[in-house]
Amino acid sequence: MSNEVKVSIRNLYKIFGPNPKAMMQHVRDGMGKPELLEQYNHVLGLQDINVDIRQGEITVIMGLSGSGKSTLIRHLNRLIDPTAGEVIVNGEDVLAYGQAKLAKLRQNTMSMVFQKFALFPHQTVLSNAGMSRRVRGESGDIADTEGQKWLDRVGLSGYGGHYPGQLSGGMQQRVGIARALASDSEIMLMDEAFSALDPLIRTDMQDLLLELQRELHKTIVFITHDLDEALKLADHLVILKDGAVVQQGEPQEILLHPNDDYIIDFISDINRARVLRVRSIMEKTDHAGEGVVGEVSPNQNLESVIAISGGDTNLHYRVMEDGKQIGLLHMRDLVKALVPVEAADPARRAASAA
């Protein structure tokens, strides 16, 4: 958590309806989403959002449809204006920006990838990729060079002359990513960027994104409704429900210590062995320990450790990082960590059995 805060969202509210400003008072007085809709016919889109987005990290904002996640990401580059609150990018309040400064911000600082790709159908893949450069007023040569460079990088070398309509969904989204990368912005906003793709292609694209991120260290804000995707990508996970943040933090932390029934339900179906890593469940100690049968890396997931152990729950492993021991992994803890919180809690188990 040493990285500096790049984007900071403070006390952000968004109310949809004819007179949102007037509704703010009701919301501040504690009126909830259903009451506001029923009594005043206004929709409370976002309430009191506070999120810090750190440089070089992938911040994933996750929620089901209607949770306000797409609305939230559009506040960062002000495609939507908030009803109240602050959005601070690089120390400056974006909401105070005029049209010209806002255009500069969108051209230089933030790029965006869309769920439905939103490529320009009347332009070739190459000019789509270099679009952000052209918008800034840079020459066509620079735009084409940059566009081609990033098309090559996302694996679309031979497709510059095609039109987006001739490409498959996965390829179109690669163009979308190339377009965002070609603008050389520090911040990338990805609005359900992979949701419209089929599962195999989606996994490919996630790997591509992680690979690019290892190299480029962008500040990425990623929106998704898919928990597996969120856990795979996130350095920092924010879970939204009905326009409010339910929990945020490191994904492993949320998995092991969910603080809300909603999240417990949410995470009950995932494959914990694949998502949880040794680092999160090991005992932090430099004590040599007894009965150690081998060494594991802290970033291995539990699935791979189970495979190594052959299913024996009595074993212990030494956790090594950079040639030094940072902890001990007890297989017994590992097995416990695999039990979802819901099943581990006797009260809840009784409730769901009845």
Partner: protein, 352 residues
């Protein structure tokens, strides 16, 4: 004693009405009654005798009320007032409209002269070549070639070329005016709400009605008279479809343009207009077809071309002339439609 005497009395308006004396011109009904009866005023008096049967109670219209109260104007007074009002604003209106529309007359006249000055052995190949380069379709080009050669052969080429030159000028002007209006409409809901009723009116107004106020304003010998009538009639689809086309551009694509910081001008010319182009072209196609429809009616007010032949056919009962000229109009319509549609199809596929 008329039907509504009682009402006027009851409202205490007797003095204001001046006792029911009439000294204006006769109403249409009275005129007709007199003509039919030949009996003059006495018969008319008798018709509105003391007791009107209940079933024949007239609607309290201007004429009916006027019988009881002279101060209320009659229907004929009203139409006369409208006419007078129009005549009163005619002169100031002419001062403004005449110079503004004068270029239209020149353009129409020059185009007529120009189109006719080109000899047929240049014009026909030129038209065929234009069709080929616009459509790249053999069938359409062959249709154009056949049509013009046919019309030239039966000696209707001159009239067809005159009609074509009028359509050309009017369509160009309609597009030059209509596309910007459509763009403006697409960007402002207020403007759209204001313009749509005007477009509805232009579209539903019977075509002859266009000519009425224009004849008041301009002399029948001026070309702009029919030019304005054609443009007003034909401009509607290009405006509507430009507006619609821009509004139909995918919201996601517009959002992407915004997210990358495009200015509204970059967005308009780089995204909205190119993506609306198929719709705009469909509008232009419709505009061409409607100018052709109007150019025939405009022959009533001296527009030259095939329409004149049709009119001559009706007037002199020369059935053959009318039919052949009508057929040539259909031929022109078909070839204009096919060639613009083929050109439109090419734009569509290159935009994908």
């Amino acid at each position: 004693m008329a039907t509504y005497d009682g009402l006027i009395e009851a409202l205490g308006l007797g003095d204001w009405c001046g006792g029911g004396k009439t000294d204006g011109p006769m109403t249409m009904a009275e005129l007709m009654a007199r003509a039919n009866n030949g009996g003059g005023a006495a018969a008319a008096e008798g018709a509105s005798g003391p007791s009107t049967p209940l079933m024949q109670t007239p609607f309290p219209s201007l004429d009916a009320l006027n019988k009881s109260c002279a101060a209320i104007p009659r229907s004929r007074d009203m139409t006369e007032a409208v006419e007078q009002g129009f005549l009163n604003i005619k002169d100031p209106l002419k001062v403004v409209l005449d110079p503004v529309t004068q270029p239209l007359s020149w353009m129409l006249d020059w185009a007529l002269v120009g189109f006719q000055a080109v000899p047929w052995f240049i014009m026909i190949p030129a038209l065929i070549a234009i069709t080929w380069f616009a459509t790249k379709k053999l069938g359409v080009t062959a249709l154009v070639a056949f049509s013009f050669i046919f019309m030239a052969f039966i000696d209707y080429y001159d009239d067809a070329i005159k009609t074509l030159s009028i359509i050309f000028v009017c369509t160009v002007i309609a597009v030059l005016l209509g596309v910007p209006i459509g763009i403006a409409m697409s960007r402002s809901n207020v403007l759209q709400r204001m313009i749509i009723p005007i477009l509805d009116m232009l579209q539903t107004l019977p075509t002859f009605v266009y000519l009425v106020p224009l004849i008041f304003l301009f002399s029948v010998t001026e070309s702009k008279l029919y030019g304005i009538a054609i443009i007003l009639y034909a401009i509607v689809p290009v405006i509507r479809l430009t507006d619609l086309g821009i509004r139909l551009v995918d919201k996601d694509v517009i959002e992407a343009a915004d997210a990358f910081g495009m200015s509204s001008r970059q967005k308009l010319w780089g995204v909205q207009v190119p993506l609306a182009l198929p719709n705009i072209m469909a509008g232009i196609n419709q505009t061409i077809m409607m100018s052709l429809a109007m150019v025939v009616i405009a022959s009533l007010v001296s527009a030259p071309g095939l329409g004149v032949k049709v009119l001559a056919g009706i007037r002199n009962l020369e059935l053959g002339v009318g039919l052949v000229a009508g057929f040539c109009i259909v031929l022109l319509a078909v070839l204009l439609d096919r060639s613009t549609k083929a050109a439109l199809g090419r734009i569509d596929t290159s935009a994908r």
